[in-house]
Every structure is written in structure tokens, then in C-alpha cells.
Subunit: 570 residues, 2 copies
């Protein structure tokens, strides 16, 4: 395509609201524009890349024999009421009423729609398994949209749903999607990791994986083991039980700790390590209040806590709620002497602690030499903390490492959660009614575009991997007013087009420096610069990735480029 | 693809809510399912056809150098307030609030979004003209969704917008789209007409065309001339002035017409033709009340009336409003003796009438021999009526014919309506600010699928035109348990696949009759039936369109089919 009239509004300045590389570059290279917070327009270049990612996703889905369909973005509230999510979903669910005052949602996901479709259309085991998918617009009213299209309110997802006769079938369907996701993200040129994630009550072992594009700006922490390859979301990564040290139990002693409310202050005041202090935290798990004990240098993992208690929501009590419950302000809370009806649970690490410091439930006082079992009772010990950098790998004991990642895909074993709620049943070989066993599988298509940019750029702009590049070759005559240059460039452009190569032709009457700056920003892999050397029969081939360049005879340009494009690595 | 697990839920019964052929067949052939009134899911076959139509639209847009982008379906209310449509648009506009209580709409169209994009990104004549388009989901909260995807609440449209420096440029951009639409609908296999439509105050001569797929179920009436090719929407088709007959003017006479309120009753009572009676109608044009006179056998064309009065809305007065205004009930209204401040306008045909019947503004009385000018005054005569079947063509006087059509496309010269409201300006060659001159161009992509089905079917099912067929060849082994039949069929299937042919393989263990019924319903152009004759080395080739069939040697199947596919007409 010719660049003069093409809508590629590049920017020299970084937009003030763009915090991360991909957002900055997608704006600067003219790929996207914001319409309103978290809502974007894809301009021609951005649209082309989006379509390339979509095409890869589609090819790999079809290769897995998933069937493409298209459902609506608007969904009737009734379906969400049937599944129970109408009440459970928070303000991220966009709701509206139609002209007849009926409730609708703008779908953030489509479990209900796909499950009800299968319920209505499939009734025999002979028609199963089926995996159906769509590439479609989704809505999530993020409290704080950010990072451009990474966390948007309207975005494009591929969502797939598998329906099997049993869990063995689900395992196969799941594996097919898992493999397709690997092929997809490899083709997109992403540096990514498939990691174990939290599957809630249903997922179970190996029941859910997240595909994480590695990136410092990622909102998820990835725990991984350099020895055995274990990788998991920090939400999911288990801690192995800590062996109890054999140590003499000292006498429990009340100590004065005036105004030493935080663990940090207290450790410093007492000249002890934070990990020798036990934090006493009060939680609300759905309607139940509960005490959680954890080592001073650890963080409670809410997901683990939720799963242990089989709760829908867990959150810490507010200060005023604590005061109402215990008659004291937080700061000196401890597990000794609490009301007998308050359940106390503790992290495994607390079980292994000797002679620890705990709050005395009295302003400005703590105890030292507190020991679980002897000085206070714990109803249950469990893995309740986030794993820490250097903690032992749950699989092989090697100290774990941390990465950060952008979630670009998620595969999930749903089991019968939705088929049960929506009564999606089939008749098995014996004519008996069974619930369909489901999996669901998402890829953030628009987010993947941003993740690619996040990983493939330098200080001058984007460096597109070949399979997703908006164009493969950028032909730039330095001076379009120079007839010879323009003609040679135009011939090269037309030749390449005729060979099916995707070419952008910079026919703009701008200064060479400005054209090169734009070319760097846009990041097309191969560049042909047509300048002064045309008189000697040469043009320049430049590689965006390495910055290397070499002269090519004009007559050889097409054949050399076709060869390069065959080889150009991702 | 193999049919056994493919989600093609065919139906033997016609769904009770399906009124028209396309809706019935799209349901029965398993192309679509309704989620809720006016909202549909496209199942694999329906999705494939949708994508084929989309691909044709995209190719023809790109051939016209239109640039594809993608904007959001949700749009902030502010943009609609800027254009004035926030208030002007009725309940068809779906509105909602986000979590911060900000108003949004689900876009039924995107003039505001595209205009604001161009306003923000383009400021020089050097970057114009530009035509940008998208293929995207639109929303219209129809009062009465019907005919399946023909009148749906969520639907897929291609909408394009052109931006030019002047009206001459707009004419060119418009022509390019007009030509692209012809290519598009031809390739879709549609029998259609491009007709002149109403362009409102802006469009002017040749300023807007509708592309109508001819169909009895069409909601629009197409007026066309068998001689000169003139074709227009009835809303738009002009009437030529009727020459006044020279006739003696008789004396105005009050006559008693007890209870003869309607034109029909009155004509019968007086033993005269309806066209000799003048209807006196009271309208509200925005806030103004006005009297409209029209021949007894004509209908007022609201659009013409609206354009004449330059009004946003026109509607007839309610009976109680008439009574409040004139102190009489409707039935005997007439133009003589009305309050002087009431404007009276009349259709051209009234100007030509002599000795007509009019109401006497007195219960149970009319006048006969009423003559405009002599017995009552008319402020303005104009073309205010719908053209009638057999009326003279406005271009060549031949009696016109009527057709009905489904609107599948619309091209429209907008001029500066939106660029003015949204201040979309550019600097011209002299550095002077000018408003961009716009056109807008829509294709109902999902509606086009239905229009194709409406035109291409027989009593057994759909007959797909080649370019939009979900598959080109349907391979059907009669008995999949017969090893020879199955193997031959599978080989043919694999051979065709390898040659890039889109093939559906019916590997279902169903009775032959049931499989053939489904095949007819689904409507794939070419069918290979593998039955008993395989033992002699033959299979059957059947054409869906003609029902003709012939035997083919197994070894020749692929080559014959490839040849057929090259030739198969639309």
C-alpha cells in the first residue's frame, strides 16, 4: 500500500498517559487511538497486526478441530441468573436494559451462552466431543483500565469451550487446546511460559494453565524452578511443609512494646528477624470471621485461603470491624486469649516456629517465646502463604526464581459447573442422562498484540516478528521528486506486490530523516532504501532487527527479498 | 470437514416463529440459532457463509483503496451530544451507563466516531481523500425484530466513511463505493437493483442510492421503469406535474353526505371515482400545524412532506388534536373556511383537479364542484404523494412498475453535516481551514446472507451460489459401515482437500434418505454420492441447483470436480 494517504498518524512525542513500552509504541506508531478510557480504535497498521494474530489463532484452533461459530456480545440476564453469576459478578459486568426494560449484559465471557447452545442442540454422546470457539468482542468494565489495550474495557478474545462425555475426554480436549496454545504463541513470536494456575475448587491438579508473555510490566508473578521446569502463578505455587526445628521452648514472657504496631517496627524494636514474629490477621470468609496466623515476613495468599475455606470471597476485616469484634484496635493482636468461638488457622510455617513473638491483645504489649500448641491453639495448619523468591520448589526443592508475565492465554477445566447449572445433558451409550464435562479456553487477541510489542522493540520503535508484521517490506525512495529514484522504487514495489509480498511504499514527500524515523517506529522487518546509488544500479537493504544493511543490485531485489522472507527468523 | 461431530443441527420442522423463507431455512439448515429476540448465534455453517460474504466485501473495499480499521461498538454519549443525535435518536439507540455512571451507547452507526478520528488525526489536504471502513457489530433496539437476521438487534455491518476536500472529491469517492457495491453484490450472487433513495436535505440529486435485493418479503417498495432504467425507492420517486384539464367550472354546491366519513364511503355514496375527491389532512411538522390536500386515491409521502417543510419529524394530528384546533371531528374537513392562520399546501394533482368534492367543515356535509383558487386558496403546490403503479416515469413518461426489495446496501453523500457538528477541518492548499466533505456507505453483511438465502432456494432447501457456499463439495457415502464405500468416499474427500477444495464429508451412520434430506437443506453446490456402484468403479455427481446427476469414474472425480468448480456459474 502507498503510505501518503494511509492513516498512520505517527507521533514524535510520547503520549502523557502511556506508562509502558507497548502502549507508548502502539500510540506513536499509529496503531491505535483511544476513544475513551479503556476503549480503542485500531487504525490500519494496528488492524493488520490484529488480523494476523487472529489468523494464527484461527489456524491453530482449526488444526485442533475446534469449530468456529459467532455468538452475540449482548446476552440476556436470564442466562446469568441461571448460572448464578448475575449476582456473583461485580461492577466489572456491564449491564443495561433494552427498550422493553429487560436486563442484558455485555458479555465478559460466554460460558452461559455456549452451554445453553449445547444444551439445546446436542443430546447424544454420538455428537460428542465438541470444541467450539469464537473470536469476538468482550467487555469488562475495569475499575482502572491501563497499559493501552492490555487492560481495556472492550477487547477481542478467542474463547473456546469443550464438551465431553467424561473427564478422560476433557483431559484430551484440554491437551489439544494446550498444544494449540503453544503453537499459537510460538508463531506470534512471544517469549512465554505456560504455568500452573489456580483452578479453584474444580480445576484440581493440572486443571488450569495460564500462558504468560514474560514482561516486567506483567501484573502476575510467575514462580519457576531452574532445575525441574516447574512454573506456576504465585497464586497457585505451593509451599512444601517446613520441618520443625528442635529447639528448647523458653518461658512465655509479656514484654512492653510501646507503639510498636507494625511487624517492621516491632522487629527493629526487639532486634529480632521479622520471620520470628507471628502476624495475627482477621479475615471475613463470606459471612464467617476467622483468625489467620502467618510468619512476619510472609504474605497471606487469598486464593489459597479461599480454597481452604471453600469460600466465594475472602477479605481482611476493617479496623472498625476488628474493634467491634475484639474491643481493641489492631496492632497488638495475638492468638492467645481470643474468644473461644473464633476459629484460628495458621500457615505451615507457623507450625514450625519456636519461641515466637505474638501480640498480647493488650495495647503496647507483646509476648515473646510463644509456642503453638503450648501457648495458643490452632485448629488447622495449611499452606496459606505466597511462596517467596528462593523458597524451595514444591517439586524438587531447588530455590525458585520469579518472573513477571502478561496473561495472554488461559486453559481451564470447568468440569460440570456450568452444565449442571444450565442442565446441559446428553444421553450416554446406555441411554442414561449425563452432564456434559466442560473446559474453557481463552486467548486475549488484542492483548497479545500489545504483548508482542512489549517484547519486540528498541529505543527507535517496534520490531515486528515476521508472522505478525503489518507489512514485510518497506520500500522508501529517499526523494520522491527524483524521477529515477521514484521509478525504481515504484518498480520494486510493484514487483514485490506481484509476487504476493506485503509491501508498504513510502511515497511521501517528507525529509529522508523523518521517513526513516517513521520506518523505525513502524518496525517492518525489511527495508529497501532507494537513494543516490540508483545511478550505479544499487539500492540498500536494511534489517530492522539488527540495523545491518547492505547494497543490492536493483535487478536482484525481488529474488533476494523472497529468499530473506523465507528465512527471516521470528 | 467431517460432519459427524460438526454442529449442524438441522430441523425437519419449520420453527413456529419463522415467517419467511430465509429465516426458516437458516434455522432448518442449522446456520443460526436465536439467543433472544433479534439476537442470533451463527453456527459453523452460518459462520462460514458470513465469513465468505465478509471476505467479498473486504476485497472489494480494498480494491477501491478503502482502508480497513476497527473501532469500538461502545461509544461515549459525548460524541452523540456533539452531533445532536443523543436527543434526536429514539428508543432504537441502546444506551447504558458504565460503573462511573457515564453514559454510553451501543453504536447503531459510526459517523461520530469516524469523524472525530479524522478531526484528531488529519489536518492537511495532503492526506485527503481518505475512505476508511470497518466490518463490525452494530446495535439497533428494533421495536419488532423479525425475519431472522434480516431485522435483528445485533448485526454485522460494513460501514465506510469518505473524507474529501470538496464535493467534486466526494463525487469520486462516492462513485468508487457505488462501483464496489455493484461488484460485491454481483459476487454474492444477488439479484439486486441500485435505486435512488431519499437523501434528505443534504443528498440532493444522485446523492444517495440503496442497493435492494429483490424479494417479495422486502419492506421497501421499488419503483422502476422498464424503458429508461429509472429506479427509485417509493419514498424518493418523483411525480411529474399533471397537466390541468380544460373543463367548465361548475357551481360550488353544498351536499348532504350523512355519515360518509371515509373517501371510500363517500365515493360510493356519491357514485364518483375516489380520485375526484380531495382529502384534507392535518399534519404536525415539528411544532407547526399544517393542512395537506391530496387526491382521494393518493397517499401522502411523509419524506417528501418533511423535505418540503425542512422538518425533522412530520406526523398526522390525532383526532383529539384536530377537534381542539378546529372544533370539529375529522370526517368532513375541507380547505374552504379554515382559520386564516393555517397554512394549506397541496399535491400537484390537486392543482389539476376540476369540480372536485371537498369536506364542508360541517358534520354530514360536503361540497361538490370545488375548484382550487376559486373556492379555496392553496399556499403552495408540490409533489407530496407516493407514485402509483402505472404512473408516468419521471424520466421518460413510461408507466412505472413496482418491486419489493431488502435493503442490503446504502451509499450516501453526507456533505459537511458531521464535519461541521464535530469540527472536522483541514488546511487547504492556501492554508485556509475547510470542513471535510463526507460520504457514508453501509452494507448489511449478516442481512446479505439472509437475502442470498431468500433468493436461492427450492422446496428442499438452500442452493448456495458458489462464491458464498459454506463448502463446495459434499461427499456422501450412503452406508459408512460398508468398508469399500467408506474408503472410496474418504479417499475422494482427502484428494479434494489436498487440492484446496472445501469439502464436507458426511461420515454419519444415518439412513441415506435422512442424509440426502440434510444435504438438500444445506445446499452445497456439488454432491458426490458413494453407493452401490463403487463395485463397478463409479460414484454419482449431483448438482444441487438443477437436481441433475451423472455417474463418474472414481479415478476421475477430482479432475472433473475441479473443472466444474471453475465453471459453476453463480
Amino acid at each position: 500500500m502507498k503510505q501518503q494517504k494511509l492513516l498512520i498518524p505517527t507521533l514524535r512525542e510520547v503520549p502523557s498517559d502511556a506508562e509502558v513500552t507497548s502502549h507508548k509504541l502502539m500510540m506513536r506508531a499509529g496503531l491505535i487511538r483511544q476513544l475513551v478510557s479503556g476503549v480503542y480504535t485500531y487504525l490500519p497498521l494496528g488492524f493488520k497486526v490484529l488480523k494476523k494474530v487472529e489468523a494464527i489463532v484461527r489456524e491453530e484452533m482449526n488444526r485442533s478441530e475446534a469449530q468456529e461459530i459467532l455468538t452475540s456480545a449482548i446476552q440476556p440476564a436470564e442466562l446469568w441468573q441461571e448460572s448464578g453469576r448475575w449476582d456473583a459478578y461485580g461492577p466489572e459486568l456491564m449491564r443495561f436494559k433494552d427498550r422493553h426494560d429487560r436486563d442484558f449484559v455485555l458479555g465478559p465471557t460466554h460460558e452461559e451462552v455456549f452451554t445453553s447452545l449445547m444444551r439445546d442442540e446436542i443430546n447424544s454422546y454420538k455428537k460428542l466431543p465438541v470444541t467450539i470457539y469464537q473470536i469476538q468482542t468482550k467487555y469488562r468494565d475495569e475499575r482502572r483500565p491501563r497499559f493501552g489495550v492490555i487492560r481495556a474495557r472492550e477487547f477481542i478474545m478467542k474463547d473456546a469451550y469443550s464438551f465431553d462425555v467424561d473427564t478422560a475426554g476433557l483431559d484430551e480436549s484440554y491437551q489439544a487446546m494446550y498444544d494449540a496454545y503453544h503453537r499459537t504463541f510460538k508463531r506470534c513470536g512471544l517469549n512465554y511460559r505456560a504455568i500452573e494456575a489456580d483452578g479453584g475448587a474444580i480445576g484440581g491438579e493440572g486443571g488450569t494453565h495460564e500462558f504468560m508473555a514474560l514482561s516486567e510490566i506483567g501484573e502476575d508473578t510467575i514462580v519457576h524452578c531452574p532445575t525441574c521446569g516447574f512454573a506456576a502463578n504465585i497464586e497457585k505455587a505451593e509451599n512444601i511443609k517446613v520441618p520443625k526445628q528442635q529447639q528448647n521452648l523458653e518461658e512465655l514472657t509479656l514484654i512492653e512494646t510501646p507503639n510498636q504496631k507494625s511487624i517492621k517496627e516491632l522487629a527493629s524494636f526487639l532486634q529480632v528477624e521479622e520471620k520470628t514474629i507471628i502476624k495475627t490477621l482477621l479475615y471475613k470468609a463470606d459471612e464467617q470471621q476467622i483468625v489467620v496466623l502467618i510468619a512476619g515476613d510472609d504474605e497471606v495468599n487469598d486464593i489459597k485461603l479461599k480454597n481452604l475455606l471453600d469460600a466465594t470471597n475472602v477479605s481482611m476485616l476493617q479496623d472498625d470491624e476488628i474493634e467491634a469484634l475484639l474491643g481493641q484496635k489492631p496492632g497488638f493482636l495475638g492468638p492467645k486469649g481470643l474468644p473461644a468461638n473464633l476459629r484460628i488457622i495458621a500457615d505451615y510455617k507457623v507450625e514450625a516456629m519456636n519461641n515466637a513473638v505474638i501480640g498480647a491483645n493488650k495495647k503496647d504489649y507483646h509476648y515473646k517465646n510463644a509456642n503453638p500448641g503450648r501457648d495458643f491453639n490452632v485448629e488447622q495448619f495449611a499452606d496459606l502463604r505466597n511462596i517467596q523468591l528462593g523458597d524451595p520448589c514444591p517439586k524438587c526443592n531447588t530455590p525458585v526464581l520469579f518472573d513477571r508475565g502478561i496473561e495472554v492465554g488461559h486453559v481451564f477445566k470447568l468440569g460440570t459447573k456450568y452444565s449442571k447449572a444450565l442442565r446441559a445433558k446428553f444421553l450416554d451409550e446406555n441411554g442414561k442422562e449425563q452432564l456434559m464435562v466442560m473446559g474453557c479456553y481463552g486467548i486475549g487477541v488484542s492483548r497479545t498484540v500489545a504483548a508482542i510489542v512489549e517484547q519486540h522493540s528498541d529505543e527507535n520503535g517496534i520490531i515486528w516478528p515476521k508472522e505478525v508484521a503489518p507489512f514485510h517490506v518497506h520500500v522508501i525512495p529517499i526523494n520522491v521528486k527524483n524521477e529515477k529514484q521514484y521509478e525504481v522504487a515504484l518498480n520494486i514495489y510493484n514487483d514485490l506486490l506481484a509476487k504476493g509480498v506485503e509491501v508498504l511504499f513510502d511515497d511521501r514527500l517528507d525529509r529522508a530523516g523523518s521517513k526513516f524515523k517513521d520506518a523505525d517506529l513502524i518496525g517492518i522487518p525489511l527495508r529497501i532504501v532507494v537513494g543516490g546509488k540508483v545511478d550505479e544500479g544499487f539500492v540498500e537493504l536494511k534489517y530492522r532487527k539488527t540495523g545491518e544493511s547492505r547494497d543490492l543490485e536493483i535487478t536482484q531485489v525481488t529474488s533476494v527479498l523472497l529468499e530473506e522472507l523465507n528465512q527471516l527468523d521470528l
